[in-house]
């Protein structure tokens, strides 16, 4: 049975996440983006890595969270934590509604469905330009700070806020994975046919997992809005859904840390590659993905884990 306490390696990992404050203070905005992307990837890992739900439309929940936070800040109040909770709640409601259809399908049909839902939502937000700003995005608001700390131009508060949120959500997700429900999700991933034969209501389990993942994705979207004070239609794009899938595959699905490691590598690589060649940087991302899938089919963490077991 899994150990539920953070092991020393994990403690070291989380301590290392504080290093940018000291070692790379001029990259804190990027670090904040990485933390938010990692949180988004973590939410996808819950459904893809643990429950076997492949999604190409996960940005739908990220976008709902981002727009909810943006609309609240623009029209109502700028205190971010309450808006964060509301964004997560709304994304969860949308996720729960969608889950009733999503969990009934597997494989290719599931991929097409999630992609279809993502595109539908993207166009719905695009056409509702009176509310969402359409293709111009949502602008004209500013979230001044959180818990008395102002969002500064160096990204110090933004990173602290994103990292704190990521850490809290990680602890919750970790608890879920190490709970009976987490074991049931792994059971469904391993053998969905066997589960009903031991009395498991697969669809109910999957609906719950999908809803929780939507909440976490919504929180990530809201955090992006709060730290950038803008919402573009891109938050709902197919590209964002595809990117987060790539990130999870790079890092290794079904390992909790896979999304986090994948986000660090992907975002840093993107930052560096786009600096070298602003037009064709996706070429290098593609190359990285091909290399990882060919040589480390279970992602970077999967490869490291296999190496560790081999040495033992």
């Amino acid at each position: 049975m899994a150990n539920v306490k953070l092991n020393p390696l994990e403690v070291v990992f989380w301590l290392c996440t504080l290093l940018p404050f000291v070692l790379a203070p001029s990259y804190l905005s990027l670090a904040s983006q990485i933390a938010i992307t990692a949180l988004f990837a973590l939410s996808l890992d819950l459904i893809l890595g643990y429950a076997g739900i492949v999604s190409l439309g996960h940005a739908a929940f990220f976008g709902v969270g981002a727009y909810t936070a943006g609309l609240i800040a623009k029209h109502y109040w700028t205190e971010p934590l309450s808006a964060l909770l509301l964004a997560g709640l709304l994304a969860g409601i949308v996720g729960y509604a969608m889950s009733h259809i999503i969990v009934r399908f597997r494989h290719l049909a599931l991929i097409m469905l999630t992609m279809g839902f993502g595109l539908l939502l993207h166009e719905a937000f695009n056409s509702a330009s009176d509310i969402t700003g359409g293709a111009d995005g949502l602008q004209g608001f500013r979230v001044p700070g959180v818990l008395g700390f102002k969002f500064d131009m160096f990204g110090r508060t933004a990173y602290a806020y994103s990292l704190g949120l990521l850490f809290l959500c990680f602890l919750v997700c970790r608890r879920i994975i190490h709970s009976p429900f987490g074991l049931a999700l792994r059971g469904i991933r391993e053998n969905a046919t066997r589960m009903p034969a031991i009395g498991a209501p697969n669809l109910a389990h999957l609906r719950k997992a999908y809803t929780i993942a939507a909440v976490v994705a919504g929180l990530a979207g809201a955090a992006l809005t709060h730290t950038t004070s803008t919402v573009s239609l891109e938050v709902l794009s197919f590209g964002r859904s595809a990117d987060v899938l790539v990130i999870l595959i790079l890092g290794g699905a079904g390992r909790l840390y896979g999304g986090l490691i994948g986000a660090i590598i992907y975002m840093v690589a993107r930052d560096q590659f786009s600096g070298i060649n602003p037009q064709y940087w996706y070429f290098w991302i593609g190359l990285l993905l091909v290399a990882v899938v060919m040589f480390l089919p279970n992602g970077i963490l999967g490869g490291l884990s296999a190496l560790y077991k081999k040495r033992q």
């Binding site: 190490h178 074991l183 792994r186 066997r194 009903p196 034969a197 031991i198 209501p201 109910a204």
Partner: protein
């Protein structure tokens, strides 16, 4: 305990179950035999809800369970194993059976308490695995277990649901002959209150462990009787050995 009333099922024009009515009393060990394609596994699928009948009823005790989904039937006390191993390859044997116990107890929806706090479920799972002589393999991943051990794990998963009726679909399929007797000895040692229906091709095993035998041919129940009655039945000999041996 378990009964069916005029259950019928067709796949297109192929009749796989025709007017099947049976009644399995509590505690009896039933063998379901018949040639390949007789509809034995389909009957188990119909009883467990994995295939919906075109008509007819399935009753567990006095309750009509025909409209229930497979997992709901399990919760009523109807468990099954599969002819081809249908397990959780990357879960350990202990995790797999613990999961089955947690589902039975309604704890599997719990996402805020850590697994180790459900020690009663883990202890029960370990006890079930020990009773099937798997105590040395508790923490090994299922995919690493020997084939015979995986067949036993199939049974352990079903037993963890605390069934009233256990349906075993060729539990010894692929197991060497010497080991299959050992496997059935484990089945024989189960609670005498448990009703067991098993599909098996090895007639030595069938006549040794079954107290009643059902013979199925072409989607129909040909005959039901004690092992002695079945051994004497000319129709059964004809099915297995051909018309020349029927007399």
């Amino acid at each position: 305990m378990l009964s069916t009333k005029s259950v019928n099922k067709k796949f297109g024009s192929l009749v796989v179950a025709e007017d099947i009515s049976l009644s399995l009393p509590q505690g009896v060990r039933y063998a379901l035999i018949g040639p390949n394609g007789a509809g034995k596994t389909t009957l188990i699928n119909l009883i467990t809800g994995m295939v919906a009948p075109d008509s007819g009823e399935i009753l567990l005790g006095d309750e009509n369970i025909t409209p229930l989904k497979p997992h709901q039937r399990v919760r009523k006390g109807l468990a099954r194993t599969f002819q081809i191993n249908t397990l959780f390859p990357h879960l350990t044997a202990l995790e797999s059976v613990t999961l089955s116990v947690l589902e039975r107890e309604g704890h599997a929806h719990n996402w805020w308490r850590a697994l180790p706090s459900f020690s009663a479920a883990t202890d029960e799972a370990a006890s079930i695995l020990t009773s099937l002589n798997l105590q040395k393999n508790l923490n090994r991943e299922t995919r690493e277990l020997a084939y015979g051990q995986q067949r036993l794990l199939e049974i352990a998963l079903a037993l963890a649901t605390r069934p009233r009726v256990l349906l075993l679909d060729e539990p010894a399929a692929g197991v060497p002959k010497g080991e299959s007797a050992e496997l059935f000895a484990a089945v024989e040692g189960l609670s005498s209150e448990l009703t067991v229906l098993f599909i098996e091709h090895d007639m030595d095993v069938v006549f040794r462990f079954a107290s009643r035998i059902l013979v199925m041919v072409g989607g129909r129940i040909l005959v039901e009787g004690s092992p002695q009655e079945i051994a004497r039945d000319a129709r059964v000999r004809e099915v297995y050995l051909g018309a020349a041996h029927a007399a």
